[in-house]
Symmetry: C2
Subunit: 306 residues, 2 copies
């Protein structure tokens, strides 16, 4: 791998190589490059379409799966289907992420369709970082589609962030939460330049005592546009909490349209959202410590998205 590719993988997946001995799959420019399974976690290439199946054996505890994707050629349109089968009682961390380096003038696009089947009492933490870079005029587009089926007593924490450099994204997330299962979605998003970001999340609370918590934090800079549309539907005794906070800068535009629907008397659903510019008291305080306005804004934005 080139230094640029290594750096890209480090940014999105916090690893610096192929991770021999661990469950690992690297996809580059639309092709699988390297793939390892372990005794408990099998990664198998799909035969009917691009993508992989990840099988985590029941009661696998403490293992990690890394599945980074990088696009370094200009003009690639990559569409991939990944299915995750998490066995009963397993407890694993899945680190995905997609980095695009586009130095050319053609659009580079990665659309990932991820389907999670989370077994009874299984736990996952899923970390997905999206990042774009490069000096070309070609656009960097990422459209992730995530579908989550959660069985009884399972837990999933989805940490999804778009750090920088993605020109356009349409994020589409759908979850069906079973009895006593809990889903936590932490979404972090920063847009700059003329970027556009749309995020639709729909969570169906179908099982008794199912819970969802969505925390979305975003910063819009320059003339970028963001639209959030999280939906929580309580179909039985269940709880939902949605919170969307956004910092608006420059000429950016942000809309937030959380939708809550209670179809059962024991559904308890709350949402809160706030859009506003950087707190001027915080800005002033940091300036009294000797920071200029730009440095102070940077500290606040980084703290907000941390």
């Amino acid at each position: 791998m080139s230094t640029m590719e290594k750096e890209l993988i480090k940014t999105i997946a916090d690893i610096s190589g192929f991770m021999p001995g661990s469950a690992f799959s690297l996809r580059r420019n639309g092709e699988g490059v390297e793939r390892h399974s372990t005794q408990n976690i099998k990664i198998v290439a799909k035969s009917d379409k691009p993508g992989i199946d990840i099988h985590v054996a029941p009661h696998t505890i403490g293992e990690e799966v890394h599945i980074p994707v990088i696009l370094t050629d200009s003009g690639i349109h990559d569409l991939v289907y990944n299915d995750f089968y998490i066995g009963e009682g397993a407890d694993v961390v899945i680190i995905a992420g997609c980095g695009i380096h586009n130095d050319g003038c053609d659009t580079s696009q990665h659309d990932g369709v991820h389907v999670f089947h989370i077994g009874k009492n299984a736990k996952i933490r899923y970390v997905e970082k999206h990042y774009g870079e490069g000096n070309g005029s070609g656009e960097r587009i990422l459209n992730p589609k995530t579908i989550i089926h959660m069985e009884e007593g399972s837990f999933a924490q989805m940490d999804m962030s778009q750090i920088k450099g993605v020109d356009s994204t349409k994020r589409d997330t759908l979850a069906n939460v079973g009895a006593n299962a809990k889903l936590v979605i932490n979404e972090k998003l920063m847009t700059h330049g003329k970027q556009e970001a749309y995020s639709d999340v729909k969570v169906n609370l179908n099982g008794e005592d199912s819970v969802v918590q969505i925390v979305s934090r975003s910063v819009g800079k320059d003339t970028s546009i963001q639209v959030f549309h999280p939906i929580a539907v309580g179909n039985t005794r269940s709880r939902a909490h949605i919170q969307c906070d956004s910092i608006l800068m420059d000429q950016a535009k942000i809309s937030s349209i959380p939708e809550i629907a209670a179809n059962h008397v024991d559904a308890q659903i709350v949402h809160e959202a706030a859009i506003g510019k950087i707190n001027s008291d915080q800005l002033m305080k940091l300036q009294t410590f000797g920071l200029d306005v730009e440095e102070a804004e940077k500290v606040i934005v980084e703290g907000f998205l941390k």
Copy 2:
């Protein structure tokens, strides 16, 4: 007027007669019945379509306008256009309201289109109560459309409530708020039986330092359905606060879809919404005072909608 009609007017407009000497218009079963103007407030029947124009002279202070509507015949479909011209610096109270008594088997429907032109520095409080009763199988339908244009420095408080007995309502409210103007919308809604209520509110904050505050409280009983969709759009330096709270009872279903859009860096927009059943601590406390469950629920619901 019959006793039933008098009672209906009392329920929706808190008055017991024709109010001679004050600005007054009573509409019954699709026809204007009685109309008075005062020196400062002229009520004029429209010549091109059903409805009235209400002209409030500039700097009219402390006067009230009553414009109740009642439907007592079954099978009436009344469509009325009322325009309010509030002169600069005026400060008045407008008491509208529609009551339907339907003992028949045909649908009784009143659709009111109200357009408010609120002059510079003028203030209004607008009170609108909707109520249905009667033993017939005919539906009672109320579809109010309200359009509010607010000039610089004006203030409007819209207290809109649907107390009881309205089988179906589609409420549609649109406001354009000018510089230094403030709009307050207080919406109260109770549905029962198989009733359906939809409320769309869109507020455009177009003037510098314009403000909107929307507080919506609702109770859904039996198998009724409620859908709220308030939208606040900050197009300049402006503030918006939207709050929707709902109590869910029985097999009712409630959705809340507040939409906030900040198109300007100095737009500050916040919304909060919560849907849940009656607080069980409150219920228990009232029961220790000797109330049975039903009585305790009634006290809590009435307090919530007060």
